[in-house]
């Protein structure tokens, strides 16, 4: 491989092999993108964890490259998103071609005033490297490379984990085990759990090349291009002048033959013409499936819990959504501040998210690779109408790109009681960012606490607090110029006049925002009793 220098992280002889064994609150299996993100989320709340990985380096190959806004917002809380944005390729435009003609262009972030862009393309190995470095500097996180899980015995009160190293086997006792060990999860295999789902037969050739020349910072998708007339092609820019190209091959292609450099070169030559120059980085042929699974004292997250097709960047970003949902709940349960039943809401909410991601990515897959003749006829009719009929462009589904999923009827959210909301994120929806001023200009997401936050709107703040809040809840008051901060509250100005819009706010409007930045409840008036009750419910004490 060329542009990236794979570092090998240190193996250390585990203390358990010297007979020093301590029960751990949380053991995480898998140091990909999800495992370290969960470990950092737990550490932020004071909960230590051990991360086991059978390997000693980052992702081989660029794999999950499209890092969505909501994932960047999670990583920003650990101080690593800035590096990712700086290193990666920011893109917000997509282009769809039919044959050699552009028929549809889209912008992923149609409105300004957000701290992070809709997407940053960055190879998974960089994302993992930045997360690993941050984890290794964190005293509450213990990384164990080349520690392979070979046995899992779940019990009512915890889990016994058998681990193999070059120096022998040892046993770890944990209150909770979280499997973030990917699509081929060892934990799932060891527990002999089935993994039902739909398997797609179409094969895709995926190749990363270092490209010498200029390409626009856009996602480009071709149906029936002249250089690959029978199928589709997808192109993404990445860091270090690396580009990713996906060629749809169909179910009958010979994967080994297709992967040979001379055959990849032939395809690339047809695509880029006789003068183009490139170097190979990584090539793979993949098929995919859509599966789903979640379980009890052993918790599954990311690809170990559900698999989606790659169209829409929902794999990696869905995994980050999982662990961000889990981190604060597991921290409360592990710390004895919430009942175990709080974790039922993880299952409920992320099952809904997985269903949504699977549904969306399956639809994209069905559009790109129609399964039966009538389906292909409708797909081709949509493409044929797209030039003259804007409605048909909206139906072209080359991947509906990942946005934060919503869940409804969660046991820990509080349903709306006021019925005059016309917009704004309701219970179960992700909160919305926006610019604020007050103690310097910045972004709303930077002013929220690591625990619960209350966001209230008023005309003029005075000395009197709009609500009385528990000490660990951050109170943010959006008020006009010259407002005085009541004790325990931070006053912010809606400096670009977008937050009132985004939150459908008027004087008295109050949102309760969870630690994972989802809305737990909202009201049209300051009502301490209602917020208290919603807080109790959100903490699993309903």
């Amino acid at each position: 491989m060329g542009s990236y220098d794979y570092r090998h992280y240190c193996y250390r002889r585990p203390p358990e092999l010297e007979g020093k064994s301590v029960r751990r609150p949380v053991v995480i299996v898998g140091a990909g993108m999800a495992g370290p993100t969960l470990a950092l989320g737990l550490a932020l709340r004071g909960v230590p964890s051990v991360v086991l990985d059978e390997d000693d380096t980052v992702s081989v190959g660029s794999r999950s490259i499209c890092q969505a806004k909501q994932s960047l917002e999670v990583w920003d809380r650990f101080g690593v998103a800035g590096r990712m944005v700086e290193k990666g390729i920011v893109w917000e435009q997509g282009e769809v071609f039919l044959r050699d003609t552009p028929i549809y262009g889209f912008s992923l972030q149609p409105e300004p005033h957000h701290k992070f862009p809709a997407f940053v393309n960055l190879q998974q190995y960089y994302v993992e490297e930045f997360l690993f470095e941050r984890c290794l500097a964190e005293p509450l996180i213990e990384f164990r490379f080349r520690n392979k899980v070979v046995g899992v015995q779940p019990a009512a009160e915890g889990v016994t984990v058998e681990v193999e190293t070059q120096d022998g086997r040892y046993t770890l006792e944990a209150d909770w085990l979280v499997a973030c060990d990917g699509a081929h999860s060892a934990v799932r295999h060891l527990m002999a759990l089935p993994y039902p789902g739909e398997v797609f037969r179409d094969q895709f050739l995926i190749t990363d090349i270092r490209f010498k020349g200029d390409l626009p910072k856009k996602r480009r998708f071709w149906f029936y291009p002249p250089f690959h007339p029978t199928n589709s092609v997808l192109l993404h820019r990445q860091a270090d002048d690396v580009i990713r190209i996906d060629f749809q091959l169909g179910p009958e292609a010979d994967a080994e033959e297709e992967k040979k450099p001379e055959n990849v070169d032939r395809r690339l030559r047809q695509m880029f013409g006789p003068d183009a120059r490139w170097e190979h980085e990584w090539t793979s042929v993949y098929t995919f499936s859509c599966r789903m699974f979640v379980h009890g004292r052993v918790i599954f997250a990311g690809d170990a819990a559900h698999i989606v097709s790659p169209f829409g960047a929902r794999g990696g970003n869905g995994a980050i959504g999982d662990v961000d949902n889990l981190a604060w709940k597991l921290a409360l349960v592990a710390g004895g501040q919430a009942p175990e039943s709080l974790l039922d809401s993880y299952d409920h909410e992320r099952r809904a998210a997985a269903r949504e991601n699977i549904r969306q990515s399956t639809r994209s897959t069905d559009f790109i690779t129609p399964k039966f003749p009538a389906s292909r006829a409708f797909r081709d009719a949509t493409l044929a109408l797209a030039r003259d009929f804007p409605f048909a462009r909206a139906l072209i589904n080359s991947g509906r790109l990942s946005t934060p999923t919503s869940h409804s009827a969660s046991p820990i959210d509080t349903a709306d009681t006021d019925n005059d909301w016309v917009r704004g994120p309701g219970p179960g929806c992700a909160m919305l960012d926006g610019p604020v001023a007050g103690n310097g200009d910045g972004w709303l997401i930077d002013r929220l606490g690591n625990d619960f936050s209350v966001l209230s709107f008023c005309e003029r703040a005075g000395d009197r607090a709009p609500l009385s809040l528990p000490a660990d809840v951050a109170g943010l008051l959006i008020a006009g110029d010259g407002a005085v901060a009541p004790s325990g509250w931070t006053v912010l100005r809606d400096c670009e006049d977008v937050l009132r819009q985004r939150y459908d706010a008027r004087a008295g409007t109050t949102y309760l925002i969870r630690p994972d930045r989802y809305v737990a409840g909202r009201w049209r008036r300051f009502d301490t009793a209602a917020v208290d009750e919603a807080l109790r419910r959100a903490g699993g004490h309903a």
């Binding site: 029936y224 639809r363 009538a374 389906s375 081709d380 044929a384 109408l385 003259d388 804007p390 509906r400």
Partner: protein, 76 residues
Amino acid sequence: MPDIPTGALRRTLNLARPDDVYTAIVDAHKGLSDEQVRAFDARLVLLLANHIGDEATIREALAAARATLDGGFLAG
């Protein structure tokens, strides 16, 4: 491509959940033979034409479908 007349036929998106409607239409064809697909689509067109009611709109849609078939990107 022949010109498609512009008149009453709506060209911009008129569906609140376009992907849902598209999927419903495609899925309704699942498992049908080629002959059944033709029969199904004929029924569907007649039902929708009656619902639309306006003859000018229907004629314009017929012309548009025909025009993209004859001269369109994916003709034949």
